[in-house]
Subunit: 420 residues, 2 copies
């Protein structure tokens, strides 16, 4: 008798028909002898509807009250879902974040889970209930309602699985699992049977948005096996788990791309201590997140060039700030390129295999794709290239690292994040 | 510095504009030096929307889960309202039924308040907040969300006022107060300055649905002054309070009517002990509420006739059951009349004034209105008449008891319950 935590996203409970389908699926699993905790997101479109109501009231809603408002979305889902299960003749009980004992910090809108008092969930499981918990929400220590921010329901599910010592946390979404790359641009993309937490973290942060990064961190910290699978088919999914020997053999597990960045460069800055801080302080003060940074020697001696990437939405603002910095420093030039893409290869095997980065550069070079910036970590190599080469780069790298061959081939499905 | 509990109904917070108007009103009151607890209903139409969602799932939703669903309606209201207040630069904090410390029994859908732990409200008032509480909801002792049923937000407000020892509980609605009778059918109807709890209870249960009967009971039990007034005008309202000497002088305070009943009669039943039980047991087993009952001698010796009234919706079913009873008893006849109305006169003064009932019968008789049944209580006389005479009866009784003359005359406004 296994203890399973399942999470279903907004599309999976988007209407009465879908709710009935998921209820049937969950009941079948319980009949099979498992104990089930089901975590639900707000129904697709509901969060937008609530945000619309708040925007009618004011432009910048109070964060505490926005959480009170948004939390109703998941509360609606769990009530409707339990009605469906009970109408089918089975026992179910809904629990809001508070009722489920989920305590967070007081950081409204992006709270972090501090602890989970599992006793009331355990009691209700022992009474034979399917326990249905509102994702995305908790209470702070003063009893205020909080929400966990983007990807919050995934985090709720994995955190509950950790706290309950569940056998597995199943994340149901509208894709069949984690793919070697985006099947939309690479027909040879293959669903992975399993992937390590570390690789999944890099995949998630690089743009393969199947699982939110916070839930993967949680899973890794507490060693919760996470199964990503489709709520629309019965196909086997992808298991995110601790690394094992098999994984080490795979040099590259996945390839991701991100077209949503722009590159800016400030050239000929004085090459002296504190210069990086001078450049980046006004950027961070404007709440702009910087991704890759490359600092190198300039054409002039005693001078340096600094390049970095920011989200496309912050590109113009960043140029503006840099131009101001350049005026202050004197003699510097600012340039930029919004038409770039970041291509990353990810794999645990890189740690023990040499020449992986070289192979990537060679492969791109053979297609005459110029590399503008490079960044590496222990299990990842990222290159900034011209945006127009994105699809080509993904396909040739997929071939070069033989990602289609590592395991048996599966059908391809679009990789896209389900709405909260 | 007074402590005021205010309740606003669904129409009063129905859209962003109305929310802003109410927020402005509340803030002005706080600036005036008062401490404010505001109780809100779900926005107009919201409860119907939620019931619609539930009816898509199943016909008879589980009562516990229906409460979880419906409670989101008020939660949405309090969040939006607090956003509005804070956006205007004032301190406000929303509290769900649970957060406000409202504990009820576990009777889902029509829970009764057992106790209110007021400390967290008091703390937040002391911090200078306008405290905004979700009406209509609480938690039972096991932490389940409950709702109070029809009129629940009025009950929340009066109960909070009682628990907090508030100076007054103001119920804002879309009418200006309590009227001597329905201004729609009697142009001389007059708004009352004040009325006793006892009279208000009779008025409420007789169909003048300004205040829900449960909230009046609560107010009477804990002696909470309740002010009924309009959220759309600044006109003074009606104070519902303990009886005083002035009130005793008023023989009749109000006249109500109810067209929603039908009368049934079973004649020639054996006049023996237990016969009433034999007639009424199957009626109550069918969950039909009986209002007036008159039992009298029949034309035949040793036989009796029993007449009673039921809601129009139960009329056909009641006839069916009575016919079955008649067959079992033998020799009885069943007849009925769905076209009746109940006219009631209500007033504390009846206790000390004789001849009030006689004056009512005389007045109706002068208009050739036949009285089919009569029922009396200490402060009320009700007559069943032909439905077609309803408006005429109300007007002649209003004149006969000089209801337009007791206090100064006010403008007339339609008397109608605001939607929860």
């Amino acid at each position: 008798m296994a203890l399973i935590v399942q999470k279903y996203g907004g599309t999976s409970v988007g209407n009465a028909e879908r709710i009935a389908a998921v209820a049937t699926k969950v009941i079948a699993r319980q009949k099979n002898g498992d104990r089930l905790v089901v975590v639900l997101s707000a129904r697709a479109g509901e969060t937008d509807r609530l945000l619309g109501l708040s925007s009618e009231i004011c432009r910048s809603p109070d964060p505490r009250e926005l959480d009170v408002l948004l939390a109703t979305g998941e509360q609606t889902s769990i009530a409707l879902f339990c009605m469906a299960v009970k109408d089918m003749g089975f026992k179910a009980v809904s629990m809001t974040g508070y009722q489920a004992g989920i305590t967070t910090d007081a950081n409204f809108g992006q709270a972090r889970i501090n602890c989970i008092q599992t006793q009331s969930i355990i009691d209700r499981l022992q009474d034979g209930n399917i326990v249905v918990v509102a994702g995305f929400q908790g209470n702070d220590e003063e009893g205020n309602i909080t929400t966990l921010g983007r990807g919050g329901s995934d985090t709720t599910a994995v955190a509950l699985a950790a706290a309950l010592g569940a056998d597995v946390c199943e994340i149901y979404t509208d894709v069949e699992g984690v793919f070697t790359t985006d099947p939309n641009i690479c027909s040879k993309a293959r669903k992975l049977e399993k992937i390590s937490y570390e690789e999944m973290l890099e995949m998630a942060s690089m743009g393969a948005k199947v699982l939110h990064i916070r839930s993967v961190e949680f899973g890794m910290k507490y060693n919760v096996p996470i199964m990503v699978l489709s709520s629309f088919t019965d196909a086997p999914g992808t298991l995110v788990t601790q690394e094992d020997k098999d994984m080490e053999k795979v040099v590259v597990s996945g390839i991701t791309y991100n077209k949503n960045e722009g590159r800016v460069t400030i050239t000929n800055v004085p090459d002296q201590p504190g210069i990086a801080a001078k450049v980046f302080r006004p950027i961070s003060e404007a709440n702009i997140n910087v991704d890759l940074i490359v600092q190198g020697g300039s054409a002039s001696p005693g001078r340096a060039d600094i390049s970095f990437t920011v989200a496309k939405g912050s590109y113009e603002k960043t140029l503006e700030i840099l131009n101001q910095v350049a005026r202050e420093l004197g003699d510097c030039k600012v340039s930029g390129d919004p038409g770039i893409a970041k291509i990353s290869i990810i794999g645990l095997g890189m740690r023990s295999h040499s020449g992986v980065a070289t192979k990537m550069f060679d492969t791109l070079s053979k297609e005459n794709i110029n590399i503008k910036m490079i960044a590496t970590s222990e299990i990842k190599v990222s290159c900034i290239i011209d945006e127009k080469y994105t699809e080509l780069a993904v396909r040739v790298l997929h071939d070069a690292f033989e990602l289609d061959k590592n395991f048996e081939t599966q059908g391809t499905v679009r990789v896209q994040e389900e709405k909260e």
